[in-house]
């Protein structure tokens, strides 16, 4: 944790390598967040790029160094929200680049992803914020301007819906 703070302080002075090391810790989460919210690899790639460049330009203004992760995810969250609002999702099927080592779980992962993508924009956003960005429900509530209980129940509802669909008839 200490070292992170030092890195952030260095990054604030414009140190690219310090910034890149900070980025390295969270870039997978950033990409997963964008991908699972926007459902489109190309859009996710673009939006993470924008987020990172914006963050680098703006990091000088980051006052509380401890909050780097929350801060950069806030940038990303807002970009994703805006994107969902301005460009309704394209329905084109995009081929997925999957890691080779994970073929054994390919079927399950694909199924999970498909079910996840059937959730509403808001549901995907809430779960992504929880899972990839690590926000707590009151933080999600605050960012999305929702009631904390509503956030919880929406997430719970979405997960239940997924769970039901992932379990083939179980009479």
């Amino acid at each position: 944790m200490k070292t992170d703070i030092q890195l952030i302080k260095q990054a604030k002075t414009g140190d690219v390598h310090a910034f890149a090391r900070l980025y390295e810790i969270i870039y997978q989460d950033l990409y997963h967040f964008a991908l699972y919210t926007l459902k489109n690899p190309a859009d996710a790639e673009d939006i993470v790029s924008e987020t990172v460049t914006d963050a680098f330009v703006q990091i000088g203004q980051l006052k509380k160094v401890e909050s780097f992760k929350a801060w950069i995810f806030q940038i990303l969250t807002n970009k994703c929200r805006k994107s969902l609002k301005n460009h309704p999702l394209s329905l084109e099927e995009i081929p997925w680049e999957l890691k080779e080592s994970t073929h054994e779980n390919l079927e399950l992962d694909t199924m999970i992803r498909q079910e996840f993508f059937r959730l509403s924009d808001e549901e995907r956003m809430i779960i992504s914020m929880h899972l990839f960005a690590g926000y707590k429900s009151h933080e999600i509530a605050s960012i999305l301007h929702m009631n904390e209980n509503t956030v919880r129940s929406k997430e719970s509802r979405a997960l239940k819906k997924m769970a039901v669909n992932l379990n083939p008839e179980k009479e």
Binding site: D46, V52, T53, D109, H138, E148
Partner: protein
């Protein structure tokens, strides 16, 4: 599969996706260095889509085509993002597990002092313990906002929030009704909705109008409409119908493009060359943002003659509509406004304090917390004088939930300690509101979080809470707390149902009913009659869990929730259950019904969607059906309770256009109605629910 396991699987599925090379840390570092050494100050990466459109490859970092709108939008986001710094995400170093907020101040119920003097609007407000303290000057308010604003948070707020409050049984309410009313948290505390009925009419928010539809004998005919003067961005939120009055709540937005104070480049939005981004550096960033101010407007109409509604008064309060309540003739209006976002633009002498009816809220009506960013504005209006403020206050906060009981308003929030899950507490402040006169009572703090809207309840000015707390490994257990009328803790029970969380709760007089859940659903009954010594009287395990509980009569408790497999925890579908609570030591299930293939109902989370009325013997709600082709559709199901069984009376397939979360089932005498914004359908209850009429609303 538990929610945790499913979340893990989602995580796993994400982990199996390759991250594009362009996003690898090395690549990003190269790009940033390149930009840095070329002093382009701003860095741009081309979007894949633009590349595709242009059919050409450029170095991704040379600034070129960038759309003007994108510039505005990105800078706006930057501003928003930076505001995040001050958020509550950081642990408060001084958090002790159970701060005592009630210590310092004299606790007295101001409402009691002012009772009998309802005209008094000038009275001195007192602190809410040490949780919220009254401001001593406007400067003090300014300094707190300035502190908590690292920069600004500009964003259009869209959502009107539903509140997180609570409670009551329907046992007394519906006895003499010949028509249904909105399902309420607290009997006697009315709530607004978007579809309502009274003895003769159904009122609906339809587009920018309220339509009043005559329902005589089940035949539907719109007789009039109310069309307030609106601007394009205004929207009708919800309304009350009270005898001869209709109170309409409208959300008003003013949006304008703002440039930031840091501007050194003399450009406005229009002057940006769409081909090039102005070159800037960190010190002199040209920032544009959408500045949105919002106001909540209350229009009061006389509907003595429903064919000709007449506007009687207009009342404006700054902020986004949060929620409202009505007790007798007094409306309590809650709005919320992000104050720290604009503070950087404003000098301490400037206008940063919100207004009600264009009147600034005086500093001695403002409650402070050290890190508050938002202003929760509460005012009371008497509907017989619908232009006038009865009383008002504002509370600086980061996030609060609201619960309104019969005598008091409670604000509550979870306070987290990032280092220690087990130190999560719920902070509460109570405010008296007799005849619209508002004042703080005190504040308190308990372990754990309030997970269900119905887990907080007031009975004769005494507060009762059910919370779920977690140990540091995340294992939950539950607590029950009872307070006296001064918000002093009188009794508690802790470590209830180790390993489970509260899913649903209801209080009735001095009894608490609550559901905890792991793989099965224990219903607990607790006796609260001795406030210093609450006791668990009994419990009953059944499969599945209830998310919504309502007293059906004094012998029976209705639960709506899910059936699950007791071994795997897999959810099987919606379920209704009727508990026999006549002997708390010996709880029984009288009947339960699993609604196969129905996977969700908005009733589980929004009590206004539930019709559960023992006097008319009707239970109705919208249910989401998973069809054989894996497509979803919605049905409205109506049941009655006959010979100790749930009996289906009516099933209506809803069209895709149905606003299912705002669909209300209602009855007036012998007819049953389904209404949303677009359509009303009537059914004859005396002829097995044959359809009588149908009306499209326009």
């Amino acid at each position: 599969m538990t929610e945790k396991e499913l979340l893990q699987k989602i995580q796993d599925s994400a982990d199996s996706v390759n991250i594009p090379d362009s996003l690898s840390p090395d690549h990003i570092a190269d790009q940033l260095s390149y930009a840095d050494t070329h002093r382009s100050h701003h860095i741009f990466l081309f979007s894949k889509k633009e590349k595709a459109v242009e059919h050409m490859h450029r170095h991704p970092l040379i600034p070129a085509v960038y759309y003007r709108t994108a510039v505005v939008c990105i800078l706006c986001i930057i501003l928003t993002a930076a505001a995040w710094n001050s958020h509550t995400i950081l642990p408060d170093e001084n958090t002790s597990p159970l701060p005592d907020y009630s210590d310092t101040e004299t606790v007295l119920d101001a409402a009691a002092d002012t009772s009998g003097n309802t005209l008094q609007t000038e009275h001195i407000k007192q602190n809410a313990g040490s949780l919220y303290t009254i401001a001593k000057s406007e400067e003090e308010v300014y300094n707190i906002l300035k502190n908590s604003a690292d920069t600004m948070d500009k964003e259009i707020l869209y959502s009107t929030r539903k509140d997180g409050a609570t409670v009551e049984s329907s046992v007394e309410d519906s006895v003499s009704n010949t028509y249904s009313s909105t399902n309420l948290q607290t009997q006697g505390v009315d709530e607004a909705d978007r579809v309502k009925t009274d003895r003769h009419y159904i009122y609906t928010v339809t587009g920018s109008k309220i339509l009043i539809t005559d329902t005589t004998d089940g035949h539907l005919q719109t007789i009039s409409s109310i069309t307030p003067e609106l601007e394009a961005s205004d929207s009708l939120v919800e309304f009350y119908v009270d005898g001869s009055h209709l109170l309409l709540i409208v959300q008003h937005y003013d949006t304008s493009i703002q440039t930031s104070v840091d501007i050194t480049e003399s450009s406005t939005e229009d002057s940006i060359d769409p081909g090039f981004m102005p070159l800037t550096n960190d010190k002199d960033i040209t920032s544009y943002s959408m500045e949105t101010t919002s106001q909540t407007i209350l229009y009061t109409y006389s509907i003595s003659d429903p064919a000709q509604p007449v506007l009687e008064g207009t009342y404006t309060q700054d902020g986004n509509y949060y929620t409202s309540r009505k007790i007798d003739d007094i409306l309590y209006l809650f709005t919320d406004q992000n104050l720290s976002s604009q503070i950087s633009y404003i000098s301490p002498k400037g206008e940063f304090i919100p207004c009600i009816n264009d009147e600034k809220i005086p500093y001695n009506d403002i409650y402070l917390t050290d890190d508050g960013r938002n202003g929760l504005i509460l005012s009371s209006v008497n509907l017989n004088h619908p232009d006038e403020i009865v009383d008002k206050l504002m509370i600086l906060h980061n996030y609060v939930n609201i619960y309104v009981g019969n005598d008091r308003i409670y604000l509550y929030n979870s306070k987290y300690n990032d280092d220690s899950l087990s130190q999560t507490v719920t902070e509460l402040a109570g405010f008296s509101m007799k005849n619209g006169i508002l004042n703080a009572v005190s504040a308190a703090s308990v372990n754990g979080e309030i997970l269900d809207t119905f887990a907080i309840n007031e009975n004769q000015q005494c507060l009762r809470l059910l919370t779920t707390s977690y140990d540091n490994s995340g294992n939950p257990s539950n607590n029950l707390y009872i307070f006296d009328d001064k918000m002093k803790l009188t009794g508690s029970l802790t470590n209830i149902a180790d390993g489970e969380e509260i899913y649903a709760a209801r209080y009735f007089d001095n009894t608490a009913y609550f559901i905890t859940y792991r793989n099965t659903d224990p219903l607990f009954v607790a006796d609260l009659s001795d406030p210093s010594d609450p006791k668990i009287l009994g419990s009953l395990e059944v499969t599945g869990f209830s998310e919504y509980l309502q007293l059906w009569d004094d012998q029976k408790l209705l639960g709506i929730g899910y059936e699950t497999d007791p071994d795997s925890g897999v959810t099987k579908g919606l379920k209704m259950v009727m508990f026999d609570i006549s002997d708390p030591m010996n709880l029984k299930v009288i009947d339960s019904i699993v609604l196969d293939n129905y996977i969700y109902s908005p009733a589980l989370y929004d009590y206004k969607c539930v019709l559960a009325d023992a006097s008319a013997n009707l239970i109705g709600f919208t249910m989401e059906l998973k069809n054989t082709d894996s497509k979803y559709s919605f049905d409205y199901g109506l049941y009655s309770w006959e010979n100790n069984h749930f009996t289906k009376k009516l099933n209506v397939n809803l069209t895709d256009h149905t606003a299912y979360e705002n669909l209300r089932g209602m009855y007036i005498n012998d007819h049953f109605y389904l209404a949303d914004f677009h359509q009303i359908i009537s059914f004859d209850r005396t002829t097995d629910y044959q359809k009588t009429d149908e009306l499209l609303l326009k």
